[in-house]
């Protein structure tokens, strides 16, 4: 009956180190091809950059764990007929312990600084704050629409099963689609006419709950021209899966001016029937016969 004798540790280190380096480099090459889709806004680009850096830093850690698992499973497996014995007693190695503690500390602190820096940057903080409210916050109920000067105000109105948009800066015109001017900061106000929905424009890197009676606010600046898709991210009934619009556009200021003028003209007839612009609405009837 064979009994395994302990190998010197140095060959193990080399055998693990080489595939770890190779796989880490391969992983970094693969990561370099990742394109996070939410880079159409300044805030989305910040989030994408942060995620990309974190992915680069996480790659060697992930590959190290994988290599160690596979290597241990192969080299230290119990072979047929081999006697089951305890391994060598581990007495500790100060140099190794100090190394992994310091490396882990550096990695974790780097990630923390990176994430916090992105979070508190003036623009990203607001967009991420909106996402945070979408997860579990209550928004700014009843807050008056504030005047913010250069920011374009856009109200998102969710209803089963479609999103419409109102532009208070343009007479409160309501539209079925959304176009935004590139480079202009936008202040969004998200609300609902019935149940809970969630307005998600992932190319813009933003998502916010649409709650009835709540004015959920966030800020975002479209970075460059392009198209975006809007989806509902909160299960809201039979047509939840159809509550999407692929026609969102970030356009130049000139094109936006043309588009909004067309909308004002086309919907002028119904404009007088719309309620005055407000942070949210309690429309009637709630149901037939009520």
């Amino acid at each position: 009956m064979a009994t395994r004798t302990a190998n010197p540790s140095r060959p193990h280190v080399i055998r693990v180190l080489i595939p770890w380096i190779i796989l880490t480099v391969a992983g970094w090459i693969a990561v370099s091809f990742i394109h996070f889709p939410f880079d159409l806004s300044v805030q989305g680009q910040d989030q994408a950059r942060t995620l990309l850096i974190m992915t680069y830093l996480a790659t060697p850690v992930f590959m190290g764990v994988v290599v160690m698992l596979v290597y241990s499973g192969i080299v230290f497996r119990r072979r047929p007929g081999e006697q089951l014995v305890d391994g060598l007693p581990v007495t500790g190695n100060t140099r190794i312990q100090a190394t992994w503690i310091v490396v882990s500390l550096i990695l974790v602190l780097s990630l923390a600084v990176l994430g916090i820096t992105t979070l508190i940057s003036s623009q990203a903080a607001q967009a991420i704050g909106a996402a945070g409210r979408a997860i579990g916050g209550e928004g700014e109920t009843g807050a008056a629409i504030k005047e913010t000067g250069s920011e374009l105000q856009v109200q998102v109105i969710a209803q089963q099963w479609y999103f419409t948009y109102r532009f208070p800066d343009y007479g409160g015109v309501e539209t079925t689609h959304l176009e935004l001017p590139a480079g202009v900061p936008v202040e969004f106000h998200v609300t609902s006419l019935d149940i809970i929905h969630s307005w998600w424009a992932y190319q813009l890197g933003v998502k916010a709950d649409a709650n009835p009676g709540v004015d959920n606010q966030f800020h975002m600046t479209p970075r460059t021209t392009g198209s975006f898709t809007v989806r509902c991210a909160e299960l809201c009934g039979i047509w939840h899966g159809e509550m999407a619009d692929t026609t969102g556009q970030v356009v130049s200021q000139g094109d936006f001016n043309t588009w909004i003028a067309q909308q004002q003209s086309y919907f002028a007839e119904i404009q007088k029937a719309l309620p005055s612009y407000g942070p949210y609405y309690f429309p009637a009837p709630l149901t037939k016969g009520s």
Binding site: I195, L274, T287
Partner: protein
Amino acid sequence: MGARLAWVTGGVIVIVIAIVAFFGYFALQRPGPLKGPATDIHLEVVAAVGSALEWPRPNDPHPDWVGYLPTTVLRVPANSTINMTIDQEDSATGLRNPFWARVQGTTTGSMHVKYFDDKGNPQEGDMTSIDPTQAAHTFAIPDLGVFVPLLGVNANAPANSMNVITFSFHTPGKGVYHWQCFVPCGAKTVFGNGGPMQTYGYMAGQLIVE
């Protein structure tokens, strides 16, 4: 030898040009818009499917539900003009969002309505919008940008009256598109959007473009 080489070279060039032209012809072709036949669809909208005037369903499990009849699954040809006629027999409920009172996405930008005025007299005319409080239902295909409000039957109209709404819209390529009502007409449900509003055969339907 020189003449033979010239013939072979010329022949090869001609063949290459012919092959390039042959495949290039197909590669550069762009299909124009297909024009299918116009399709007529006739629907009836009722306050209770059990007591409809044209396609009653007395044995329906929900005879008191509102609904489009005779079906809410509509099959239409692609790239065609669909001529809709909707016999609207329900009274007004009103829109939660008055915005949907504007006719959108029809071929003319309007709809033709035969209705009864406040004195019960028959009227008809083209409309691009209606009073949002007088909407009974809507016929909306959001993905196609078609939103048509349906005027409710006036309380002073003769018994068993209906408003007849006609309009046309174009279908795109093949696909399945949902259509819905934007009036909260599902009585006794949350915000009026449950029950018949979320059930095929009543107010939830699909437009199958094939």
